[in-house]
Symmetry: C2
C-alpha cells in the first residue's frame, strides 16, 4: 500500500507530498519528470526561491522532519509502459495527480505548445485511469487537481459539480459544460469528462479538486528548512497573477492590471490547498464516497484590482514603493464579472480557511524580499517574451 | 481556392467529396491516410462492398461524372508539418473535416486504443484549427462531423447547441456539457469545446455538425458505378447498429438486440447526411453566419427494436428468414430512454429528409444481398472479437 503523488516536483505537489508523508506510515512515492523546471527555463525564467533537487529534498525531509517514507521515481506519465510499471510495483491505494503543464499562456504560444499541453495533460490522466482498470486497482482513490478555470464566467453561482439544465421546459441535472478560455484550461475540462467516464465504466472513486489561483510561499513543513522550499514562479507564463504582482512589488516594478481588473477570480492559500489534498489522500476508504466528487478548492473570490491594492498596501510595510497601473486587457473577458463560487464541500473538508489574502500577501512579500536579486534579474519576464530554447 | 475534405476515404467523407465536386468548379482535395482500412483489417473484418483505392475512385469520377476537380493527398493529420504543408499549398476556403477514428467499441478495447483514439482525433482537429490561425486562413469555414453521441441521454429535448443552466435561482445560456459514454464519443465532446475556443480566439467560422447514426449504401453519385461505392462496415467495431442488423439479416443470422431495445437513437440516411455537408461546404460566405453553429445532423429518433423489426419486415421482400433476438445489454444505459432531439436547423439546411428508414433499409438490403458471401465469411465479426494484427 502506498500513496502516489504525481507532479511532486511542482508548486503544489511537493508540499502536498510532504504533508501526506508527515501524517501516515504509508510509503509516499513522488513521481515527476522534471518538466516544470525545463518549461520555466525555456521561457528564460526561474523560481524566485531556489529549489533543491528531489533527492536533496527527501534527504532533508528525513533530517528535519524524521520522514522515512518518501521516495522518488523519475518518469514521464505520458508513457503508458512507465505508468503500468509504476502501478504494478507500488499498487497505490491513493493517487494524488497534480502533474500537468499548468500554464494557459504557455499553451497559447503556438499550435505546437497547444498540442503539447493537451496531449501531455490528457494522456497522463488517461494512462493512470486505464492503468487502474487494467491492473485491478479500481478501489484506488484517484484525486486530481483540475482548475476552477473550467467554469468560465457564467451568470449563476458556480456549483461544486454540475447543475440543472433546461430546454423546452424539461429539466435534468447535468455535469458542468466546458467553458474554459485557454488550451490549457480545456485540458482540465477534458480530464474532468474523462474522469467521469472512468468512474462510470471502471467504478474508480474519484475526487475532482478544482483548484483556484493558489498563492503563498510556504507551508508548515516547507518553512522548516530552505532546502524544503517549494518553487515560486513570477514570470508571465508560470507566475499566477498574485505571485507576479508580489514579485513586481518586490522589484518596485509597477503592478500591471490588465483592464479595469474588477472581475473577481477565485483564490486559495497554498496552506489551505495542501491541507485539503492531504486530507483527501488520507481519508479512510470507509468514510469516502465511492463516487465522483467535485470540490471547488477555493476560499474566496477577490477582484484583481483589490488583490493588487492589498499587495501594494502590504508592500509599504517592507518600505517598497509600489504603483498599480492599468493596461489594456489582451484577453477577451468581462472585466466586471462578479464570480460567485460555491465551496461548502471544500470548506468543510479543511474546517475553514487558515489564511486571509492579506496575511498571505504578508507571508509572500516577507519571503520574496530575500530573493529580490533573482526577481530583478528576471524582471523582463513579467511580460510576454519569446522562448529561449530555440523551439 | 479549394475545398479540403479530410477522411475522404471514409464512409461519409467519400460520397460527400463526390457531391461537393459535382456542384463546384473549385478544386476538391481529398485527404486521408488509409487508416480506416487498417483498423477494420486489424479486427479481422472488411467492407461488405468492395472499395476502390482513392486513385481509381477519382479516375472513375472523371469517367462517369466528368469531374476534373478531384485530387488526393495521402497523409496523417496528426502530423503538424503535414497539415501546415497542406494548408500552405491548397489555401482552402472550406474544410470539411470528417477524419476520425469513429468507433466507440474500438476505443474501449484497452488503454492503448483509448489513447490512440483520443490523441488521433483531437490532434488532427487541433492541427487544422491552429493551422488556419497560423497560416492566416481564419476566414476559412471549418465544418466538422462530430456526433449526437456527445449529448448522452438527458431528460430534456436535446437542443442544437447549448441550453440554459441554472443554479441557486440564477440562469445563463451555456454550451452543452460532455456527457458522452465512450472514449471515442468524448473525443467529439472535446473537439466541440476546442472548436468553440478556436472560434472565440481566432474568429474562425465553424459548423459543428453532430452526426447521428448514418445508414445507407449509396448516394446518387456513388450508385453510378461500383468503383464509386463507399465502404459498408458490418462488424461489431465499425458497423453501426443499423448496418450490423442489415448484414445479420442478409446472413440470416439472428439480429441481436441488446436488452429491451426500447431506447431511441437518432438516425439519418447517408443521402441526407451528404446533402447537408455539401450545402455547408458550398454556402456563400456572405450567407454564412461568421459564428459557431451547431447542427443536429439527424432526421429522426427510432428505437433499436423498431429498427430491427423494420429491417426484419423488409428482409421478407428478399426471401430472407430473419429473427430478432434479445440479449443482455453489456452497456450501462437506460433501455427505455425516449430521446427527443431538435433538428430544425439541419432540416432547413437540407429542405427536409429525402429518405424514410424503411426506404433506407430496402436500399441497404437490395445492395447487400449481392455481397452475401463476403458477409457470411465474416459473420463471426458481428460479435466482439480480438485484434488479429497482434497489437
Amino acid at each position: 500500500m502506498s500513496i502516489l503523488v504525481t507532479g511532486a516536483d511542482g508548486y503544489i505537489g511537493w508540499p502536498t507530498a510532504l504533508r501526506i508523508a508527515d501524517r501516515t506510515e504509508q510509503r509516499v512515492v513522488l513521481v515527476d519528470n522534471g518538466a516544470r523546471r525545463e518549461w520555466v527555463d525555456s521561457i528564460g525564467s526561474t523560481s524566485a526561491l531556489p529549489v533543491a533537487d528531489p533527492t536533496e529534498r527527501i534527504d532533508t525531509a528525513e533530517d528535519v522532519h524524521g520522514l522515512h517514507n518518501l521516495s522518488y521515481v523519475e518518469g514521464d506519465l505520458t508513457e503508458k509502459s512507465f505508468v503500468d510499471r509504476l502501478l504494478e510495483v507500488h499498487e497505490p491505494a491513493t493517487i494524488v495527480h497534480t502533474a500537468a503543464q499548468p500554464s494557459a499562456p504557455y499553451s497559447q504560444i503556438n499550435g505546437e505548445r497547444a498540442n503539447y499541453t493537451q496531449h501531455n495533460n490528457m494522456q497522463a490522466t488517461r494512462n493512470l485511469l486505464w492503468g487502474l482498470e487494467e491492473h485491478d486497482l479500481t478501489d484506488t482513490h484517484f484525486v486530481e487537481t483540475t482548475t476552477t478555470g473550467v467554469y468560465g464566467a457564467p451568470e449563476f453561482p458556480i456549483p461544486e459539480g454540475g447543475a440543472v439544465m433546461e430546454n423546452d421546459g424539461e429539466r435534468d441535472e447535468v455535469p458542468f459544460p466546458a467553458m474554459a478560455g485557454s488550451w490549457y484550461h480545456l485540458t482540465k475540462s477534458h480530464d474532468a469528462a474523462n474522469m467521469r467516464l472512468a468512474h462510470k465504466q471502471f467504478d474508480i472513486p474519484i475526487s475532482d479538486v478544482r483548484t483556484a489561483i493558489t498563492y503563498g510561499t510556504e507551508t508548515a513543513e516547507t518553512a522548516a528548512d530552505p532546502r524544503l522550499a517549494t518553487r515560486f514562479d513570477f514570470d508571465y507564463y508560470f507566475g499566477v497573477v498574485a505571485h507576479r504582482f508580489a514579485a513586481q512589488a518586490v522589484a518596485e516594478y509597477p503592478m500591471t492590471v490588465y483592464g479595469k481588473g474588477e472581475q473577481r477570480k477565485p483564490f486559495i492559500a497554498l496552506e489551505d490547498a495542501v491541507e485539503g489534498l492531504a486530507r483527501l489522500a488520507l481519508i479512510d476508504p470507509d468514510d469516502r464516497p465511492d463516487d465522483l466528487t467535485v470540490y471547488n478548492q477555493v476560499t474566496r473570490a477577490i477582484s484583481i484590482v483589490e488583490m493588487a491594492e492589498t499587495i501594494a498596501d502590504v508592500s509599504a510595510e517592507y518600505d517598497l514603493d509600489v504603483a498599480v497601473e492599468h493596461f489594456e486587457n489582451p484577453r477577451d473577458e468581462d472585466e466586471t464579472h462578479k464570480m460567485e463560487i460555491e465551496n461548502e464541500k471544500y470548506a468543510e473538508l479543511i474546517d475553514g480557511q487558515s489564511t486571509t489574502f492579506e496575511e498571505g500577501a504578508r507571508e509572500i512579500l516577507g519571503t520574496l524580499v530575500e530573493y529580490e536579486e533573482t526577481i530583478t534579474a528576471h524582471e523582463d519576464r513579467f511580460l510576454p517574451g519569446v522562448l529561449t530554447d530555440g523551439e
